[in-house]
């Protein structure tokens, strides 16, 4: 009796949720799992996009290990991520901290202004910054030459051009992280700060010893999402300088796109995609472990 009752309960708790998630599950299977499986299968072939896909085993992966262009793109991606993630973290936390401060005036207006870049499509954001930092007729170079300086090669110098994209991505991505931080900062109990005040702690001590630990879960999410996002960046590079100069700022996704669609090496590009996926999984797991350890 007891057994069958528990089994029935078990059944009803399995079936109803299954039905409820079935639509999502179906979409997930059709548009995520299935293409991923096809992609994985293609990575073992020399498929060109038309006709049949001859099986080549691990050849694509072996070739990838010796591909200098792939490493160049991967290195550039890591440099970009290492620049943009900390910068975005500091910017969004800083702005959020200012916006929840009881001394700040005009918070609502400021919040709208800081949020605006998030509403602009990445392509448009890229074009705006291209007008500002355009090497030939950009506003910044115009001002520099009017002041008597020499125009700066914002586009045809690889490092400067990467720097512009870091600025654009920070400018555009700060808003969303700022919102997350504002919510987290507001949830830190005021009594902690009051107690610290009584103990005579200064602002920096309060920030380090109370605020940072209290918002650690949010910080983790922001770091994780920004890192994954930065590793997959494509739009800003295309919009600002087309991955240029030359192919110097081709990040890994653009490399995959170019080989897959411009050079019709779908199989090879699929292999590169799976390496990227693997790297992203490793990044996510590492950050998860780090945050667990900190939590305990």
């Amino acid at each position: 009796m007891v057994f069958s009752a528990s089994r029935r309960r078990h059944n009803s708790y399995t079936l109803a949720p299954l039905i409820l998630i079935s639509v999502n599950l179906l979409l997930f299977l059709t548009f995520f799992v299935w293409p991923a499986i096809i992609g994985l299968a293609y990575s073992f072939t020399s498929y060109t996009g038309v006709g049949d896909a001859p099986w080549v085993g691990l050849e694509n992966y072996q070739e990838l290990i010796g591909d200098a262009d792939f490493y160049a793109a991967l290195l550039r991606t890591l440099i970009y991520t290492a620049c943009v993630v900390p910068l975005m973290f500091v910017m969004s936390l800083g702005i959020a901290y200012l916006l929840v401060s009881p001394y700040a005036k005009g918070k609502t207006v400021a919040r709208v202004i800081f949020f605006l870049p998030w509403l602009i499509s990445p392509i448009i954001a890229g074009v705006i910054w291209r007008w500002l930092f355009g090497e030939n007729f950009g506003l910044v170079n115009f001002v520099i030459t009017e002041l008597g300086g020499d125009p700066v090669s914002w586009q045809s110098n690889g490092d400067l051009s990467l720097m512009i994209v870091v600025i654009v991505a920070t400018w555009a991505g700060t808003a969303f992280n700022m919102l997350l931080f504002i919510a987290a900062l507001k949830n830190v109990p005021v009594s902690y700060y009051e107690a610290a005040d009584l103990d005579g702690a200064n602002a920096w001590q309060k920030f380090r010893k109370i605020t940072l630990p209290a918002i650690a879960p949010t910080s983790f999410i922001v770091m994780l999402l920004s890192t994954l996002h930065a590793m997959k960046e494509y739009t800003y590079f295309v919009a600002v300088n087309d991955g240029g100069p030359g192919t110097e700022n081709n990040l890994i996704v653009q490399y995959i796109y170019e080989t897959g669609f411009k050079r019709a090496q779908i199989g090879y590009a699929s292999a590169a995609s799976f390496v990227l996926l693997l790297i992203l999984v490793v990044v996510a797991v590492l950050q998860l472990i780090a945050s667990r350890r900190k939590g305990s």
Partner: protein, 425 residues
């Protein structure tokens, strides 16, 4: 206003009913031996009046109605392949490119292409042996534009007759003189395109990237390699801004700023320039020849007739009608086409004299152009007939790497040849 609006509604209703009736008729008559209507698919975002006018005349003459369908360019090629699989291809069409999937359903247009009266440029028709698969409705050519106001301000002269054109050395010297005299920023901007760089190579006496006898791309000749080195050298932020070829800067916008002396692009810019350049005078000038007189000729829409049973004959009649010189003249004038037929007298409906002159110049340039000028599209046709598809956009990428100093010229050329051949199965 109110009356005209309601009148328009009335017309709309009438034409909807008319279309329904016609639709019913055409589907009913498809079994007859004598078709009353045929379909014609094409794609344009610009002028289509030329075809509409010709269709009316065709109906008056032959009693066959031509239903013109303007298909959006994006997806046109897909729509055709789907139509082929569903056995619902149009009777005639002007297509962006032929597709191995339906190429065997095309009628032979040799009688039209070879008709001496039509004077069709036979280098540009797509033929499989003796069978002519398509005749282009028009051609496009690459060419040079100058900022005429800057030239006049600097008091520097330029050639106007393609037969007495300048060399690249002369042209660049003249452009530098103009730039320095007028305080302009650059001598030249050059379209970032695999097709346009062909013009540079050919005019420098190179043959570029050509298919060999084995159906694969061969290593280019020495003149091509030298020409590419020369090209990289002028990307020095004085003669040309480096950003166009390395970082995706828009050359059209740079030229329109009025701060660039010259722009190498193509005939399709004429209508745009006529409309949107108001701050300065521009002119189309003969492309430099060093020593070869060449350009890059590409095809506009490719006119085809499908083998659709009892409509096949009417379809071919329509194509024949379009290419009769008197009719084709009207079509080319109204739609602003560079003609595929020689010996026509064309008056284009541009108000600007610069635009009129530009078309006249392009027509002369094409007559003088070395046959190699059309080899780019000929290679594409060869590949198509061998059921291959090759995207040459990687030429841009490899040249950008070269200009940016990431690799030398030999490595660039090798990478281009390998990259193109990798796409051939």
């Amino acid at each position: 206003m109110g009356i005209s609006a309601s009148a328009r509604k009335g017309w709309l209703a009438a034409s909807v009913v008319g279309a329904l009736v016609l639709g019913a008729c055409s589907s009913g008559s498809s079994g007859d031996g004598d078709p009353k209507s045929i379909t014609f698919w094409f794609s344009t975002s610009a002028q289509d009046q030329g075809y509409t006018d010709l269709a009316k005349e065709f109906e008056a003459k032959e009693g066959i109605k031509v239903e013109i369908v303007n298909v959006p360019y994006d997806g046109y090629q897909d729509k055709l392949s789907q139509a082929a699989q569903a056995n619902a291809l149009p009777d005639t069409a002007s297509v962006p490119s032929l597709d191995p999937l339906w190429v065997n359903q095309l009628q032979d247009l040799a009688s039209i292409a070879n008709n001496e009266a039509n004077k069709i440029n036979k280098n540009l028709v797509t033929a499989d042996g003796d069978k002519v698969l398509s005749i282009p409705s028009d051609v496009t050519a690459a060419g040079l534009y100058i900022n005429k106001s800057l030239f006049e301000k600097a008091g520097v002269s330029y050639p106007t007759d393609p037969a007495q054109t300048w060399t690249w050395t002369d042209f660049l010297a003249a452009a530098t003189k103009v730039r320095e005299a007028t305080n302009a920023k650059y001598d030249l901007v050059y379209d970032n395109s695999a097709a346009r760089i062909r013009g540079w190579i050919y005019t420098h006496g190179g043959t570029g990237f050509q298919l060999g006898a084995d159906g694969k791309f061969a290593a280019p000749d020495a003149a091509t390699v030298t020409a590419l080195s020369e090209f990289a050298k002028i990307n020095d932020d004085k003669v040309m801004p480096k950003s166009v070829w390395t970082s995706g800067q828009d050359p059209n916008a740079l030229f329109k700023s009025g701060q660039v002396v010259a722009y190498y692009s193509g005939v399709w810019q004429v209508a745009d320039f006529a409309d949107s350049i108001t701050d300065f005078e521009w002119a189309s000038v003969p492309a430099p020849a060093q020593p070869t007189h060449a350009t890059d000729i590409n095809l506009g829409g490719k006119m085809v007739a499908f083998n659709n049973g009892d409509k096949a004959e009417a379809a071919k009649k329509w194509i024949d009608f379009v290419f009769q010189p008197a009719n084709y003249t009207k079509l080319a004038q109204t739609n602003g086409y560079l003609p595929i037929e020689t010996g026509l007298t064309l008056t284009y409906p541009f108000e600007k004299k610069a635009a009129q002159d530009a078309f006249a110049l392009y027509i002369k340039e094409m007559e003088l152009a070395d046959p190699i000028s059309s080899s780019g599209q000929a290679n594409q046709t060869k590949l198509l007939l061998a059921k291959q598809k090759v995207d040459d956009a990687l030429i841009k990428t490899e040249l950008a790497k070269f200009i940016n100093g990431e690799q030398d010229v030999q490595k660039t050329v090798d990478a281009i040849v390998t990259g193109l051949n990798d796409q051939i199965k």
